[in-house]
Protein backbone atom coordinates (compact mmCIF):
# COMPACT_ATOMS: atom_id res chain seq x y z
CA UNK A 1 0.00 0.00 0.00
CA UNK A 2 2.93 2.32 0.91
CA UNK A 3 2.36 4.81 -1.94
CA UNK A 4 -1.44 4.73 -1.64
CA UNK A 5 -3.79 5.74 1.10
CA UNK A 6 -7.10 3.94 1.49
CA UNK A 7 -10.26 5.98 1.91
CA UNK A 8 -13.17 3.93 3.25
CA UNK A 9 -16.73 4.75 4.23
CA UNK A 10 -19.34 2.27 5.46
CA UNK A 11 -23.09 2.10 5.00
CA UNK A 12 -24.57 -0.04 7.72
CA UNK A 13 -28.12 -1.36 7.73
CA UNK A 14 -29.48 -2.45 11.05
CA UNK A 15 -32.90 -4.04 11.60
CA UNK A 16 -34.72 -2.50 14.54
CA UNK A 17 -36.14 -4.95 17.04
CA UNK A 18 -39.74 -3.87 17.08
CA UNK A 19 -42.52 -6.44 17.35
CA UNK A 20 -44.36 -5.22 14.26
CA UNK A 21 -43.19 -3.92 10.89
CA UNK A 22 -42.50 -0.25 10.15
CA UNK A 23 -45.77 0.55 8.34
CA UNK A 24 -48.13 -2.35 9.20
CA UNK A 25 -48.97 -4.73 12.05
CA UNK A 26 -47.27 -7.83 10.60
CA UNK A 27 -44.73 -9.59 12.78
CA UNK A 28 -40.99 -8.98 12.30
CA UNK A 29 -40.11 -12.46 13.56
CA UNK A 30 -37.12 -14.09 11.87
CA UNK A 31 -37.46 -17.66 10.65
CA UNK A 32 -41.24 -17.82 10.14
CA UNK A 33 -42.54 -20.00 7.33
CA UNK A 34 -42.29 -18.25 3.93
CA UNK A 35 -44.82 -15.50 3.22
CA UNK A 36 -46.65 -15.90 6.49
CA UNK A 37 -45.98 -12.40 7.93
CA UNK A 38 -47.45 -10.42 5.07
CA UNK A 39 -50.50 -8.23 4.50
CA UNK A 40 -51.86 -5.88 1.84
CA UNK A 41 -49.71 -2.98 3.19
CA UNK A 42 -46.32 -4.68 3.04
CA UNK A 43 -47.24 -6.42 -0.22
CA UNK A 44 -47.99 -2.99 -1.67
CA UNK A 45 -51.47 -3.89 -2.87
CA UNK A 46 -53.38 -0.96 -4.37
CA UNK A 47 -55.29 1.35 -2.07
CA UNK A 48 -53.54 0.59 1.19
CA UNK A 49 -52.23 3.21 3.60
CA UNK A 50 -48.94 2.74 5.49
CA UNK A 51 -48.87 4.14 9.05
CA UNK A 52 -45.57 4.66 10.88
CA UNK A 53 -44.76 2.49 13.90
CA UNK A 54 -43.87 4.99 16.65
CA UNK A 55 -41.29 2.61 18.14
CA UNK A 56 -39.28 2.83 14.91
CA UNK A 57 -39.02 6.58 15.26
CA UNK A 58 -38.09 6.21 18.93
CA UNK A 59 -35.35 3.66 18.17
CA UNK A 60 -33.98 5.75 15.30
CA UNK A 61 -33.79 8.82 17.55
CA UNK A 62 -32.07 6.79 20.27
CA UNK A 63 -29.51 5.53 17.75
CA UNK A 64 -28.99 9.12 16.59
CA UNK A 65 -28.43 10.31 20.15
CA UNK A 66 -26.06 7.45 21.00
CA UNK A 67 -24.04 8.30 17.89
CA UNK A 68 -23.86 12.00 18.82
CA UNK A 69 -26.05 13.13 15.93
CA UNK A 70 -28.22 16.18 15.61
CA UNK A 71 -31.85 14.99 15.63
CA UNK A 72 -33.93 16.60 12.91
CA UNK A 73 -36.76 18.95 13.88
CA UNK A 74 -38.54 18.22 10.58
CA UNK A 75 -38.29 14.90 8.85
CA UNK A 76 -40.22 12.97 6.20
CA UNK A 77 -40.34 9.77 4.16
CA UNK A 78 -39.55 9.47 0.47
CA UNK A 79 -40.00 6.84 -2.19
CA UNK A 80 -36.84 5.37 -3.68
CA UNK A 81 -37.77 3.88 -7.03
CA UNK A 82 -36.17 0.76 -8.45
CA UNK A 83 -37.28 -2.50 -9.93
CA UNK A 84 -36.30 -5.68 -8.20
CA UNK A 85 -38.61 -8.53 -7.23
CA UNK A 86 -37.74 -8.33 -3.53
CA UNK A 87 -39.59 -5.01 -3.49
CA UNK A 88 -43.29 -5.53 -4.20
CA UNK A 89 -44.18 -1.84 -4.63
CA UNK A 90 -41.28 -1.12 -7.02
CA UNK A 91 -40.22 1.54 -4.56
CA UNK A 92 -38.78 1.43 -1.09
CA UNK A 93 -40.05 3.82 1.53
CA UNK A 94 -36.89 5.51 2.79
CA UNK A 95 -35.68 9.00 3.69
CA UNK A 96 -33.89 11.26 1.26
CA UNK A 97 -33.20 14.90 2.06
CA UNK A 98 -34.58 15.13 5.61
CA UNK A 99 -33.16 12.11 7.47
CA UNK A 100 -34.00 11.70 11.15
CA UNK A 101 -30.40 12.25 12.31
CA UNK A 102 -27.24 13.86 10.90
CA UNK A 103 -23.72 15.02 11.75
CA UNK A 104 -22.71 12.57 14.44
CA UNK A 105 -19.51 10.78 15.36
CA UNK A 106 -18.19 7.65 16.91
CA UNK A 107 -14.85 7.19 18.70
CA UNK A 108 -13.09 4.04 17.59
CA UNK A 109 -10.05 2.47 19.17
CA UNK A 110 -7.39 1.87 16.58
CA UNK A 111 -3.82 0.64 17.00
CA UNK A 112 -2.25 3.58 18.79
CA UNK A 113 -5.21 5.49 20.16
CA UNK A 114 -8.71 6.75 19.59
CA UNK A 115 -9.94 8.01 16.26
CA UNK A 116 -13.15 9.95 15.75
CA UNK A 117 -15.17 8.72 12.77
CA UNK A 118 -17.86 11.02 11.42
CA UNK A 119 -21.44 9.82 10.97
CA UNK A 120 -22.97 11.56 7.98
CA UNK A 121 -26.56 10.54 8.57
CA UNK A 122 -29.01 7.99 9.90
CA UNK A 123 -32.27 7.39 8.14
CA UNK A 124 -35.26 5.09 8.57
CA UNK A 125 -36.48 2.76 5.86
CA UNK A 126 -38.24 -0.52 5.19
CA UNK A 127 -36.35 -3.72 4.51
CA UNK A 128 -36.94 -5.66 1.29
CA UNK A 129 -37.95 -9.31 0.88
CA UNK A 130 -35.68 -12.26 0.26
CA UNK A 131 -35.07 -14.02 -3.01
CA UNK A 132 -34.57 -17.75 -2.90
CA UNK A 133 -32.82 -18.76 -6.08
CA UNK A 134 -33.87 -22.03 -7.60
CA UNK A 135 -31.01 -23.97 -9.20
CA UNK A 136 -27.54 -24.24 -7.77
CA UNK A 137 -26.27 -20.69 -8.29
CA UNK A 138 -27.72 -17.26 -8.88
CA UNK A 139 -26.68 -17.33 -12.54
CA UNK A 140 -27.82 -20.84 -13.39
CA UNK A 141 -31.30 -20.59 -11.91
CA UNK A 142 -34.20 -20.25 -14.30
CA UNK A 143 -36.42 -18.32 -11.91
CA UNK A 144 -36.51 -16.90 -8.40
CA UNK A 145 -38.78 -17.59 -5.48
CA UNK A 146 -39.67 -14.67 -3.25
CA UNK A 147 -40.40 -14.55 0.48
CA UNK A 148 -41.85 -11.19 1.58
CA UNK A 149 -41.70 -11.80 5.34
CA UNK A 150 -38.79 -9.38 5.66
CA UNK A 151 -40.48 -6.73 3.52
CA UNK A 152 -41.35 -3.83 5.78
CA UNK A 153 -39.14 -4.85 8.70
CA UNK A 154 -37.80 -1.53 10.03
CA UNK A 155 -34.22 -0.58 9.27
CA UNK A 156 -31.95 2.28 10.04
CA UNK A 157 -29.14 3.00 7.61
CA UNK A 158 -26.08 4.54 9.21
CA UNK A 159 -23.73 6.23 6.77
CA UNK A 160 -20.19 7.08 7.89
CA UNK A 161 -17.96 9.82 6.55
CA UNK A 162 -15.04 8.57 4.41
CA UNK A 163 -12.86 8.77 7.52
CA UNK A 164 -11.66 5.18 7.71
CA UNK A 165 -8.12 4.50 6.47
CA UNK A 166 -7.70 0.72 6.66
CA UNK A 167 -9.70 -2.51 6.71
CA UNK A 168 -8.83 -2.87 10.41
CA UNK A 169 -10.28 0.56 11.16
CA UNK A 170 -13.41 -0.34 9.20
CA UNK A 171 -13.80 -3.49 11.22
CA UNK A 172 -13.19 -1.68 14.52
CA UNK A 173 -15.78 0.94 13.56
CA UNK A 174 -18.34 -1.74 12.71
CA UNK A 175 -17.70 -3.63 15.95
CA UNK A 176 -18.10 -0.46 17.98
CA UNK A 177 -21.26 0.48 16.12
CA UNK A 178 -22.70 -2.97 16.76
CA UNK A 179 -21.86 -2.73 20.47
CA UNK A 180 -23.64 0.62 20.75
CA UNK A 181 -26.78 -0.54 18.94
CA UNK A 182 -26.90 -3.58 21.23
CA UNK A 183 -26.33 -1.46 24.35
CA UNK A 184 -29.23 0.85 23.55
CA UNK A 185 -31.34 -2.21 22.72
CA UNK A 186 -32.62 -1.07 19.34
CA UNK A 187 -31.22 -3.96 17.31
CA UNK A 188 -30.10 -7.56 17.78
CA UNK A 189 -27.27 -6.94 15.32
CA UNK A 190 -27.00 -10.56 14.23
CA UNK A 191 -24.85 -10.48 11.12
CA UNK A 192 -25.54 -14.18 10.50
CA UNK A 193 -29.28 -13.51 10.39
CA UNK A 194 -28.86 -10.35 8.35
CA UNK A 195 -30.09 -7.99 11.06
CA UNK A 196 -26.80 -6.08 10.68
CA UNK A 197 -25.53 -5.62 7.14
CA UNK A 198 -22.68 -3.60 5.74
CA UNK A 199 -21.74 -2.14 2.35
CA UNK A 200 -18.35 -0.49 1.95
CA UNK A 201 -17.08 2.28 -0.31
CA UNK A 202 -13.36 2.33 -0.97
CA UNK A 203 -10.96 4.37 -3.07
CA UNK A 204 -7.23 4.95 -3.10
CA UNK A 205 -5.28 8.18 -3.37
CA UNK A 206 -1.63 9.13 -3.11
CA UNK A 207 -0.52 9.99 0.42
CA UNK A 208 -0.80 13.70 0.97
CA UNK A 209 -3.36 14.13 -1.78
CA UNK A 210 -6.60 15.73 -0.55
CA UNK A 211 -8.84 14.88 -3.49
CA UNK A 212 -10.59 11.50 -3.34
CA UNK A 213 -9.92 8.84 -5.94
CA UNK A 214 -12.66 7.02 -7.83
CA UNK A 215 -14.44 4.62 -5.51
CA UNK A 216 -16.06 1.25 -5.81
CA UNK A 217 -18.81 -0.08 -3.60
CA UNK A 218 -18.60 -3.59 -2.15
CA UNK A 219 -21.76 -5.47 -1.25
CA UNK A 220 -22.43 -8.83 0.36
CA UNK A 221 -20.08 -8.33 3.30
CA UNK A 222 -21.87 -10.65 5.71
CA UNK A 223 -19.43 -10.87 8.63
CA UNK A 224 -16.77 -8.75 10.35
CA UNK A 225 -14.19 -10.97 8.73
CA UNK A 226 -15.78 -10.47 5.31
CA UNK A 227 -15.67 -6.68 5.78
CA UNK A 228 -11.98 -6.79 6.51
CA UNK A 229 -11.06 -9.36 3.86
CA UNK A 230 -13.28 -7.77 1.20
CA UNK A 231 -11.68 -4.38 1.74
CA UNK A 232 -8.18 -5.85 1.75
CA UNK A 233 -8.86 -7.61 -1.53
CA UNK A 234 -10.47 -4.57 -3.15
CA UNK A 235 -7.65 -2.25 -2.06
CA UNK A 236 -5.16 -4.67 -3.63
CA UNK A 237 -7.18 -4.89 -6.83
CA UNK A 238 -7.36 -1.09 -7.14
CA UNK A 239 -3.68 -0.73 -6.35
CA UNK A 240 -2.69 -3.13 -9.11
CA UNK A 241 -4.76 -1.15 -11.62
CA UNK A 242 -3.37 2.20 -10.46
CA UNK A 243 0.24 0.97 -10.34
CA UNK A 244 -0.10 -0.12 -13.94
CA UNK A 245 -1.31 3.36 -14.84
CA UNK A 246 -4.92 2.23 -15.23
CA UNK A 247 -8.13 3.96 -14.16
CA UNK A 248 -10.61 2.70 -11.57
CA UNK A 249 -14.14 2.26 -12.87
CA UNK A 250 -16.85 3.51 -10.56
CA UNK A 251 -18.83 0.34 -10.04
CA UNK A 252 -20.62 -1.89 -7.58
CA UNK A 253 -18.88 -5.16 -6.75
CA UNK A 254 -19.93 -8.16 -4.75
CA UNK A 255 -17.72 -10.01 -2.25
CA UNK A 256 -17.40 -13.72 -2.98
CA UNK A 257 -16.55 -15.23 0.38
CA UNK A 258 -15.61 -18.65 -0.97
CA UNK A 259 -13.27 -17.46 -3.71
CA UNK A 260 -12.02 -14.49 -1.66
CA UNK A 261 -12.52 -11.98 -4.47
CA UNK A 262 -14.85 -9.13 -5.41
CA UNK A 263 -16.76 -9.52 -8.66
CA UNK A 264 -18.47 -6.92 -10.81
CA UNK A 265 -22.16 -6.55 -9.96
CA UNK A 266 -22.98 -3.49 -12.04
CA UNK A 267 -21.06 -0.73 -13.77
CA UNK A 268 -21.64 2.99 -13.84
CA UNK A 269 -23.89 2.78 -16.89
CA UNK A 270 -26.27 0.59 -14.94
CA UNK A 271 -26.14 2.71 -11.82
CA UNK A 272 -29.56 3.26 -10.36
CA UNK A 273 -31.44 6.47 -10.85
CA UNK A 274 -33.71 6.30 -7.86
CA UNK A 275 -35.88 9.34 -8.65
CA UNK A 276 -36.73 10.01 -5.01
CA UNK A 277 -40.02 11.76 -4.32
CA UNK A 278 -41.83 12.57 -1.08
CA UNK A 279 -44.20 9.74 -0.14
CA UNK A 280 -47.68 11.27 -0.24
CA UNK A 281 -49.09 8.40 1.87
CA UNK A 282 -47.03 9.40 4.89
CA UNK A 283 -47.36 12.76 6.57
CA UNK A 284 -44.33 14.79 7.71
CA UNK A 285 -42.73 14.35 11.13
CA UNK A 286 -42.31 17.26 13.54
CA UNK A 287 -40.00 16.00 16.25
CA UNK A 288 -40.81 17.20 19.75
CA UNK A 289 -37.64 18.44 21.49
CA UNK A 290 -38.90 17.39 24.86
CA UNK A 291 -39.43 13.82 23.70
CA UNK A 292 -35.87 13.78 22.36
CA UNK A 293 -34.59 14.98 25.75
CA UNK A 294 -36.56 12.23 27.50
CA UNK A 295 -35.09 9.60 25.18
CA UNK A 296 -31.64 10.98 25.83
CA UNK A 297 -32.15 10.46 29.57
CA UNK A 298 -33.20 6.87 28.92
CA UNK A 299 -29.95 5.98 27.18
CA UNK A 300 -27.91 3.49 29.19
CA UNK A 301 -24.22 3.84 29.95
CA UNK A 302 -22.51 3.33 26.58
CA UNK A 303 -19.51 1.02 26.00
CA UNK A 304 -16.81 3.72 26.17
CA UNK A 305 -18.12 5.12 29.46
CA UNK A 306 -18.49 1.66 30.92
CA UNK A 307 -14.97 0.72 29.91
CA UNK A 308 -13.61 3.89 31.45
CA UNK A 309 -15.46 3.11 34.70
CA UNK A 310 -14.00 -0.42 34.80
CA UNK A 311 -10.50 0.97 34.39
CA UNK A 312 -10.79 3.90 36.79
CA UNK A 313 -13.01 2.51 39.53
CA UNK A 314 -12.23 -1.20 39.41
CA UNK A 315 -8.59 -1.01 38.40
CA UNK A 316 -9.02 -3.37 35.45
CA UNK A 317 -6.54 -3.34 32.58
CA UNK A 318 -7.42 -1.52 29.39
CA UNK A 319 -7.52 -4.87 27.61
CA UNK A 320 -9.82 -6.63 30.10
CA UNK A 321 -12.15 -3.63 30.31
CA UNK A 322 -12.31 -3.58 26.51
CA UNK A 323 -13.15 -7.28 26.23
CA UNK A 324 -15.79 -7.08 28.98
CA UNK A 325 -17.58 -4.06 27.53
CA UNK A 326 -17.44 -5.09 23.86
CA UNK A 327 -20.90 -6.58 24.25
CA UNK A 328 -23.54 -5.46 26.67
CA UNK A 329 -24.43 -9.05 27.54
CA UNK A 330 -20.84 -9.74 28.66
CA UNK A 331 -20.63 -6.53 30.69
CA UNK A 332 -23.99 -7.25 32.31
CA UNK A 333 -22.92 -10.80 33.18
CA UNK A 334 -19.67 -9.49 34.65
CA UNK A 335 -21.56 -7.02 36.82
CA UNK A 336 -23.92 -9.75 37.99
CA UNK A 337 -20.88 -11.73 39.15
CA UNK A 338 -19.72 -8.63 41.05
CA UNK A 339 -23.17 -8.06 42.51
CA UNK A 340 -23.03 -11.63 43.87
CA UNK A 341 -19.94 -10.65 45.83
CA UNK A 342 -16.91 -11.38 43.62
CA UNK A 343 -13.92 -9.05 43.33
CA UNK A 344 -13.56 -7.19 40.00
CA UNK A 345 -10.14 -8.60 39.09
CA UNK A 346 -11.03 -12.21 39.80
CA UNK A 347 -14.35 -11.90 38.02
CA UNK A 348 -12.76 -10.16 35.01
CA UNK A 349 -10.18 -12.90 34.74
CA UNK A 350 -12.70 -15.74 34.91
CA UNK A 351 -15.20 -14.12 32.55
CA UNK A 352 -12.62 -13.19 29.88
CA UNK A 353 -10.54 -16.39 30.08
CA UNK A 354 -12.30 -19.50 31.41
CA UNK A 355 -15.88 -18.60 30.58
CA UNK A 356 -15.04 -16.98 27.22
CA UNK A 357 -12.98 -20.04 26.28
CA UNK A 358 -15.80 -22.46 27.07
CA UNK A 359 -18.35 -20.28 25.24
CA UNK A 360 -16.11 -20.12 22.20
CA UNK A 361 -15.56 -23.88 22.16
CA UNK A 362 -19.26 -24.61 22.30
CA UNK A 363 -20.41 -21.76 20.06
CA UNK A 364 -22.68 -20.26 22.73
CA UNK A 365 -23.33 -16.63 23.56
CA UNK A 366 -22.87 -15.47 27.14
CA UNK A 367 -26.62 -15.26 27.71
CA UNK A 368 -26.77 -19.00 26.92
CA UNK A 369 -24.01 -19.83 29.41
CA UNK A 370 -24.85 -23.00 31.39
CA UNK A 371 -23.05 -21.42 34.35
CA UNK A 372 -25.07 -18.48 35.68
CA UNK A 373 -23.28 -15.41 37.04
CA UNK A 374 -24.25 -16.18 40.65
CA UNK A 375 -22.65 -19.64 40.47
CA UNK A 376 -19.45 -18.25 39.02
CA UNK A 377 -19.40 -15.81 41.95
CA UNK A 378 -19.76 -18.76 44.38
CA UNK A 379 -16.80 -20.46 42.74
CA UNK A 380 -14.69 -17.29 43.05
CA UNK A 381 -15.61 -17.02 46.70
CA UNK A 382 -14.43 -20.61 47.29
CA UNK A 383 -11.06 -19.66 45.79
CA UNK A 384 -10.85 -16.50 47.93
CA UNK A 385 -11.73 -18.50 51.03
CA UNK A 386 -9.01 -21.01 50.09
CA UNK A 387 -11.42 -23.91 50.05
CA UNK A 388 -10.00 -24.82 46.65
CA UNK A 389 -6.95 -23.68 44.69
CA UNK A 390 -7.22 -21.77 41.45
CA UNK A 391 -6.10 -24.86 39.60
CA UNK A 392 -8.76 -27.11 41.11
CA UNK A 393 -11.28 -24.34 40.47
CA UNK A 394 -10.76 -24.82 36.74
CA UNK A 395 -11.75 -28.49 37.05
CA UNK A 396 -14.73 -27.55 39.20
CA UNK A 397 -15.75 -24.97 36.62
CA UNK A 398 -15.59 -27.60 33.86
CA UNK A 399 -17.87 -29.84 35.95
CA UNK A 400 -20.26 -26.94 36.61
CA UNK A 401 -20.40 -26.34 32.86
CA UNK A 402 -21.20 -30.00 32.17
CA UNK A 403 -23.60 -30.73 35.00
CA UNK A 404 -25.15 -27.39 35.97
CA UNK A 405 -24.43 -28.26 39.60
CA UNK A 406 -23.38 -25.73 42.22
CA UNK A 407 -19.64 -25.57 42.93
CA UNK A 408 -19.97 -26.64 46.61
CA UNK A 409 -21.84 -29.74 45.60
CA UNK A 410 -19.18 -30.72 43.06
CA UNK A 411 -16.38 -30.13 45.56
CA UNK A 412 -18.18 -32.19 48.19
CA UNK A 413 -19.04 -35.04 45.86
CA UNK A 414 -15.59 -35.28 44.35
CA UNK A 415 -13.58 -34.57 47.49
CA UNK A 416 -11.77 -31.61 45.97
CA UNK A 417 -11.47 -29.44 49.05
CA UNK A 418 -8.07 -27.87 49.38
CA UNK A 419 -5.90 -29.40 52.06
CA UNK A 420 -4.94 -26.64 54.48
CA UNK A 421 -4.78 -28.87 57.49
CA UNK A 422 -1.27 -28.62 58.93
CA UNK A 423 -0.81 -32.24 59.97
CA UNK A 424 -1.57 -33.77 56.58
CA UNK A 425 0.51 -31.15 54.81
CA UNK A 426 3.44 -31.63 57.18
CA UNK A 427 3.39 -35.36 56.47
CA UNK A 428 3.56 -34.73 52.73
CA UNK A 429 6.36 -32.18 53.12
CA UNK A 430 8.40 -34.63 55.17
CA UNK A 431 7.77 -37.45 52.72
CA UNK A 432 8.92 -35.41 49.72
CA UNK A 433 12.01 -34.13 51.55
CA UNK A 434 13.08 -37.63 52.46
CA UNK A 435 12.53 -38.84 48.89
CA UNK A 436 14.70 -36.14 47.30
CA UNK A 437 17.93 -35.77 49.28
CA UNK A 438 19.84 -34.48 46.23
CA UNK A 439 17.37 -31.65 45.69
CA UNK A 440 17.52 -30.75 49.35
CA UNK A 441 21.32 -30.62 49.07
CA UNK A 442 20.96 -28.37 46.01
CA UNK A 443 18.80 -26.03 48.06
CA UNK A 444 21.41 -25.78 50.79
CA UNK A 445 23.99 -25.11 48.08
CA UNK A 446 21.94 -22.02 47.19
CA UNK A 447 19.82 -23.28 44.33
CA UNK A 448 16.54 -21.45 44.80
CA UNK A 449 14.93 -23.48 41.98
CA UNK A 450 15.00 -26.57 44.15
CA UNK A 451 12.11 -25.20 46.22
CA UNK A 452 9.87 -24.99 43.16
CA UNK A 453 10.61 -28.57 42.28
CA UNK A 454 9.78 -29.79 45.78
CA UNK A 455 6.55 -27.76 45.91
CA UNK A 456 5.60 -29.36 42.59
CA UNK A 457 6.21 -32.83 44.05
CA UNK A 458 4.01 -32.06 47.05
CA UNK A 459 1.22 -30.72 44.85
CA UNK A 460 1.44 -33.89 42.79
CA UNK A 461 1.29 -36.04 45.89
CA UNK A 462 -1.84 -34.20 47.04
CA UNK A 463 -3.33 -34.43 43.54
CA UNK A 464 -3.44 -30.66 43.32
CA UNK A 465 -5.38 -30.22 46.52
CA UNK A 466 -2.65 -28.90 48.79
CA UNK A 467 -2.78 -25.21 49.55
CA UNK A 468 0.34 -24.04 47.67
CA UNK A 469 1.03 -21.08 49.97
CA UNK A 470 1.03 -23.14 53.13
CA UNK A 471 3.11 -25.84 51.43
CA UNK A 472 5.65 -23.23 50.42
CA UNK A 473 5.94 -21.77 53.89
CA UNK A 474 6.09 -25.14 55.59
CA UNK A 475 8.65 -26.51 53.17
CA UNK A 476 11.02 -23.58 53.68
CA UNK A 477 10.69 -23.84 57.43
CA UNK A 478 11.44 -27.55 57.27
CA UNK A 479 14.41 -27.13 54.92
CA UNK A 480 15.96 -24.44 57.08
CA UNK A 481 15.42 -26.51 60.23
CA UNK A 482 17.06 -29.52 58.64
Amino acid sequence: MNKWEMVIGLEVHSELKTRSKIFCGCSTRFGSSPNSNICPVCLGLPGVLPVLNQKVLEFAIKAGLALNCRIAAHSKFDRKNYYYPDLPKNYQISQYDLPIAENGWLDVEVGDGIKRIGITRIHMEEDAGKLVHAGSTITSSSHSLVDYNRTGVPLIEIVSEPDLRSPEEARAYLEKLKAILEYIEVSDCKMEEGSLRCDANISLRRHGQTKFGIKTEIKNLTSFRAVQRGLEYEAGRQQTILDEGGVIEQETRSWDEEKGVTVLLRGKEHAHDYRYLPDPDLVPLEIDRQWVEELKKQLPELPSARKQRYIEQMGLSDYDAGVLTASRATADYFEQVLAAGASPKGAANWVTVELAGKLNQSGLTISQSPVPAAQLAQLLKLIDDRVISGKIAKDVFARMWQTGKEPEQIIREEGLTQISDDDSLRQMVEQVISQHPQTVADFHAGKEKAVGFLVGQIMKLSRGKANPEIVNRMLREKLLEG
Binding site: C26, P34, I38, P85, V132, T139, S144, L145, V146
Partner: protein, 95 residues
Protein backbone atom coordinates in the same frame (compact mmCIF):
# COMPACT_ATOMS: atom_id res chain seq x y z
CA UNK B 1 -37.44 20.74 -23.60
CA UNK B 2 -37.47 16.97 -23.50
CA UNK B 3 -35.20 15.26 -26.00
CA UNK B 4 -35.54 11.73 -27.34
CA UNK B 5 -32.72 10.44 -25.22
CA UNK B 6 -34.57 11.53 -22.08
CA UNK B 7 -37.68 9.74 -23.27
CA UNK B 8 -35.71 6.54 -23.80
CA UNK B 9 -34.00 6.87 -20.39
CA UNK B 10 -37.28 7.41 -18.59
CA UNK B 11 -38.87 4.52 -20.46
CA UNK B 12 -36.01 2.23 -19.46
CA UNK B 13 -36.28 3.27 -15.82
CA UNK B 14 -40.02 2.59 -15.93
CA UNK B 15 -39.53 -0.72 -17.76
CA UNK B 16 -41.68 0.49 -20.66
CA UNK B 17 -41.14 -0.44 -24.29
CA UNK B 18 -41.31 2.42 -26.79
CA UNK B 19 -40.66 2.25 -30.53
CA UNK B 20 -38.90 4.97 -32.54
CA UNK B 21 -42.11 6.50 -33.85
CA UNK B 22 -43.54 6.83 -30.32
CA UNK B 23 -40.34 8.39 -29.00
CA UNK B 24 -40.77 11.42 -31.22
CA UNK B 25 -44.41 11.92 -30.22
CA UNK B 26 -43.71 11.32 -26.55
CA UNK B 27 -40.81 13.77 -26.51
CA UNK B 28 -43.11 16.49 -27.80
CA UNK B 29 -45.96 15.60 -25.44
CA UNK B 30 -43.76 15.31 -22.37
CA UNK B 31 -42.12 18.62 -23.32
CA UNK B 32 -45.55 20.23 -23.39
CA UNK B 33 -46.43 18.87 -19.97
CA UNK B 34 -43.15 19.95 -18.42
CA UNK B 35 -43.51 23.34 -20.10
CA UNK B 36 -46.96 23.70 -18.58
CA UNK B 37 -45.64 22.79 -15.14
CA UNK B 38 -42.88 25.33 -15.63
CA UNK B 39 -45.48 28.04 -15.10
CA UNK B 40 -45.02 27.31 -11.42
CA UNK B 41 -41.47 28.61 -11.54
CA UNK B 42 -42.80 32.06 -12.41
CA UNK B 43 -44.50 32.30 -9.04
CA UNK B 44 -42.63 34.25 -6.39
CA UNK B 45 -41.93 31.78 -3.55
CA UNK B 46 -39.43 33.97 -1.73
CA UNK B 47 -41.11 33.80 1.67
CA UNK B 48 -42.84 30.44 1.37
CA UNK B 49 -41.69 27.57 3.62
CA UNK B 50 -40.90 24.36 1.71
CA UNK B 51 -43.51 21.67 2.23
CA UNK B 52 -43.56 17.96 1.54
CA UNK B 53 -47.26 17.31 1.92
CA UNK B 54 -50.39 19.17 0.90
CA UNK B 55 -52.43 18.26 4.00
CA UNK B 56 -51.44 20.30 7.05
CA UNK B 57 -51.10 17.37 9.42
CA UNK B 58 -48.04 15.70 10.88
CA UNK B 59 -46.99 12.94 13.29
CA UNK B 60 -49.50 10.26 12.43
CA UNK B 61 -48.31 6.99 13.90
CA UNK B 62 -49.46 3.81 15.58
CA UNK B 63 -48.23 1.81 18.61
CA UNK B 64 -45.90 -1.15 18.03
CA UNK B 65 -48.56 -3.86 18.21
CA UNK B 66 -49.26 -6.88 16.05
CA UNK B 67 -52.23 -7.37 13.79
CA UNK B 68 -53.09 -10.61 12.05
CA UNK B 69 -51.35 -11.19 8.72
CA UNK B 70 -52.99 -12.68 5.61
CA UNK B 71 -53.20 -16.44 5.27
CA UNK B 72 -50.34 -17.52 3.00
CA UNK B 73 -52.52 -19.09 0.32
CA UNK B 74 -54.80 -16.07 0.15
CA UNK B 75 -51.79 -13.91 -0.75
CA UNK B 76 -50.27 -16.50 -3.06
CA UNK B 77 -53.58 -16.81 -4.93
CA UNK B 78 -53.24 -13.14 -6.00
CA UNK B 79 -49.90 -13.75 -7.68
CA UNK B 80 -49.48 -14.37 -11.41
CA UNK B 81 -46.98 -17.13 -10.63
CA UNK B 82 -46.23 -19.06 -7.46
CA UNK B 83 -44.59 -22.20 -6.15
CA UNK B 84 -45.72 -23.68 -2.85
CA UNK B 85 -45.59 -20.92 -0.24
CA UNK B 86 -43.48 -18.67 -2.48
CA UNK B 87 -44.16 -16.06 -5.09
CA UNK B 88 -42.27 -16.87 -8.28
CA UNK B 89 -40.59 -14.41 -10.63
CA UNK B 90 -38.44 -14.71 -13.74
CA UNK B 91 -34.73 -15.14 -13.12
CA UNK B 92 -33.10 -12.06 -11.64
CA UNK B 93 -29.39 -11.56 -11.48
CA UNK B 94 -28.40 -8.09 -10.39
CA UNK B 95 -29.85 -5.68 -7.87
Amino acid sequence: MIDEKTVRDVARLSRLEVDDRQVEVLARQMGDIIGYMDMLSRIDTENVEPMAHVVPISNVWRPDSLRPSMPNQEAIRLAPDAEGEYFRTPKVVSG
